[in-house]
């Protein structure tokens, strides 16, 4: 039987391009596009119009916000003085650290995710070209994210101050190249030093610390030097500007490039491109071997344990709680992902320490941050224990009511959140019992609501999908975040007067009501 003309043409095109860089690039682009489309539409193509409208609205809103933020500077014009260069450099380091953090995560995923690696590595085709394309695409993905974040600022400056500001886009691209190169080299360094078994975990921790670390460090420095809580306070401080290097210092060349200085721009872009080419060329030579070395490591056996006998446990709740804690304890990656947001508790902790006994102003910062973090932690852990149940059929066929099981899982989550919040609560009790009470009530309510939302929106999923849990239900993610914010604000206002919490509690109630109405059918 002869093939159809269309099939023959496709086959000829396939044969002509197969295993070329272009062929791999189109393969990768197709996968990324379909992944993105399914993420945006959630399997419902009609959603594209709605999602596009929301994105457009958000982008316009962000541009208007930037216009409002920079209205004074735009009126007078922005000069290339030390204050401006310092602010741009700070922004660049912030973006760079975010890109580096994201790149580490993407690079490790490329080595460890086995979705198509087994197919690729077992095929007779040379995989080096594919990995060259894949690493280049990682760089593009990392950069696109940062470009989107910076675009309202760059566009407004470019259109309303001076078109030279558009060169900031090239600077961001260059930073993306550096970030990807550094992430690849870090991953390879970890492979060689700590081995493939530990690389992923360590890389994840570095990614979390770098991602949140720079912003937290800025806040911490601002607090320590009494310049407030703002992330940008350090860059606008007169002391910092005074201490900054002179205008002709080499340190400003990325900032000068962002402001349109031609030579700085060319140097920066060329350096980034060369570093990326060298790193891609070096890493892809060994990519296949390194990727093969990770095979089976995700299912690590762990250390051989000594059998100490079965323990007597008081009731089914204890059995389930112990199982949940054991699983979390033994999954450092999941644990690091869950506890990542606790990094943001560093600054309120620091605030409490620095401002001990200096009035009540700090409580308006400390209380909401902790309540918010507790709500988010509870949401993440609830998803892991409730939806991310690996042996759900075993649990469903056991002679225990669904209510008992869910209650035990919720208990496991509440206990962990309680343990994390307790030190702050105890510390706060010495400062202000009223603040401690507000924190306790806020934390309890935020935790309760997060757990309940996850119960309403529970669906069977693999724990390894934790980072993408928001994809399964955007309603759950949004309502969880909004309710946490409302209880955080409510707890802070309740510190001033209990009655101030009422409207926020009502709003939280409405959000919970909407979440309940929109819950998937069949969930109680």
């Amino acid at each position: 039987m002869s093939a159809s003309p269309a099939a023959s043409a496709a086959s000829a095109a396939f044969a002509a391009n197969a295993n070329s860089i272009r062929w791999y690039a189109s393969h990768e682009a197709r996968l990324i596009w379909r992944d993105f489309a399914s993420l945006v539409t959630a399997g419902k193509p009609k959603r594209i119009a709605l999602v596009s409208t929301i994105i457009a609205g958000f982008v316009i809103g962000m541009h208007l916000f930037v216009v409002h933020l920079l209205r004074n500077q735009l009126e007078t014009g922005i000069a290339a003085d030390k204050a401006t260069l310092l602010m741009i450099s700070g922004f660049a380091v912030m973006l760079g650290s975010l890109m580096f953090s994201q790149a580490i995560e993407s690079v490790t995923r490329a080595y460890y995710a086995r979705s198509d690696l087994d197919l690729l590595l077992s095929s007779p085709a040379t995989s080096r070209r594919l990995f060259q394309v894949r690493t280049s695409i990682l760089s593009v993905q990392t950069t696109v994210f940062a470009l989107l974040i910076a675009s309202p600022l760059v566009n407004i400056l470019g259109f309303m101050d001076d078109p030279r500001w558009f060169s900031a886009y090239l600077v961001i691209m260059a930073l993306g190249g550096f970030a990807t190169s550094a992430a690849v080299m870090l991953t390879l360094l970890l492979f060689r030093t700590v081995g493939p078994a530990r690389t992923r975990l360590i890389a994840q921790i570095i990614s979390a610390i770098v991602g949140a670390g720079f912003i937290i460090s800025l806040q911490a420095m601002a607090i320590m030097f009494g310049q407030g809580f703002s992330r940008l306070a350090l860059f606008t401080s007169a002391d910092t500007i005074e201490a900054a290097p002179a205008l002709d210092s080499w340190i400003w060349f990325p900032a000068n490039a962002a402001m349109g200085d031609g030579w700085s721009l060319v140097f920066l872009c060329a350096a980034s491109l060369i570093s990326l080419i060298l790193v891609i060329s070096y890493s892809t030579r060994r990519f296949a071997d390194d990727a093969l070395a990770t095979s089976g490591l995700m299912d690590g056996k762990g250390k051989q344990k000594t059998f100490t006998g079965f323990k007597k446990q008081s009731g089914i709740g204890a059995v389930l709680r112990r199982k949940e804690w054991d699983l979390l304890k033994r999954d450092p990656w999941l644990l690091s992902q869950s506890l990542q947001q606790l990094l943001y508790l560093v600054t309120p902790g620091l605030l409490l320490w620095v401002h001990y006994g200096q009035g009540s102003g700090i409580y308006y910062v400390v209380i909401p941050v902790i309540v918010m973090a507790a709500g988010q932690l509870a949401g993440g852990l609830s998803w892991v224990t409730i939806s991310g149940e690996d042996a759900h059929e075993l649990i469903d066929t056991s002679p225990i009511s669904a209510k008992t099981i869910l209650l035990a899982k919720a208990e496991a989550v509440v206990t962990i959140v309680g343990l994390v919040s307790a030190p702050f609560l105890i510390a706060l009790m010495f400062f202000s019992p009223r603040a401690a009470l507000c924190l306790a009530v806020g934390t309890l309510l935020a935790t309760f609501c997060a757990v309940v939302i996850q119960l309403w929106y529970r669906s069977q999923a693999n724990r390894s999908l934790f980072r993408r849990r928001q994809v399964s239900s955007k309603t759950a993610t949004i309502s969880e975040a909004v309710v946490s914010i409302l209880w955080a604000a409510g707890a802070a206002l309740a510190f001033r007067h209990g009655i101030f919490m009422v409207p926020l509690a009502l709003m939280a109630g409405i959000v919970m009501g909407v979440a309940w109405l929109l819950r998937p059918q069949g969930q109680g």
Partner: protein
Amino acid sequence: MSSPYALEITDLNKSFDRPAVNGLDLKVHGGEFYALLGPNGAGKTTTLRMVAGLLQPDSGDISVFGTRLAADPLEAKRKIAWVSDEPMIYDKLTPLEYLEFVSGLWAVDPREAERRSLDLVEWLGLGPHAMERCGGFSKGMRQKVALAGALVHEPQLIILDEPLTGLDAGSARQVKDVLLSRVKRGTTIIMTTHILEVAERMAERIGVIAEGRLVAEGTFAELRNRSGGENATLEEVFLDIVESNEETTDVGSLAA
């Protein structure tokens, strides 16, 4: 209420896009090894998932040793163990920790659970790996851990959905031996399998399900007599039953 039947299914119905189980009636005696056969999509797994409480029937009745599943699901589940073709175990637990957890779910006394667990891991050849995490285990080892989990609480009825899929000959032999020994001790086993030789050798009675209905049932000898081939293998008997059912359905739909 005592019942001679380990499992009694009456007029069971379940539809997804189309009827998956269509007025199924089935009775399995206590202490019996029953094989449920059928072509792909016949409704075997759907039926057994409803028995295990993993799916809600649209209508019909399921009783396990006289306990109606709809009226007292927890009491019914106390008597059942479910093993699927894709063993769902915890990668981060060791086999013994998994068995300790399962024992806890079924409220087995810890000392008794420990004794049974140690026996089971040895019996299933898991001894050397008893304190290693299951994450690195092969499909066969995972299936054996899941089977040990099903046996540790000594259920009266074990339901297995394609338990031998993907097992090597040695592992399959171990699993079969364990199952047969349980039947000798009075446990009822219902198993679906595509390996007809296993059904032929192990099952006391065989049920053939097609398009959601039970189309034939009996011992292997009875089924062979029915299809008229004295020396026919179960494969030939099975194909004959399924084909004649398809022809009947086709004639029925033409007549309609």
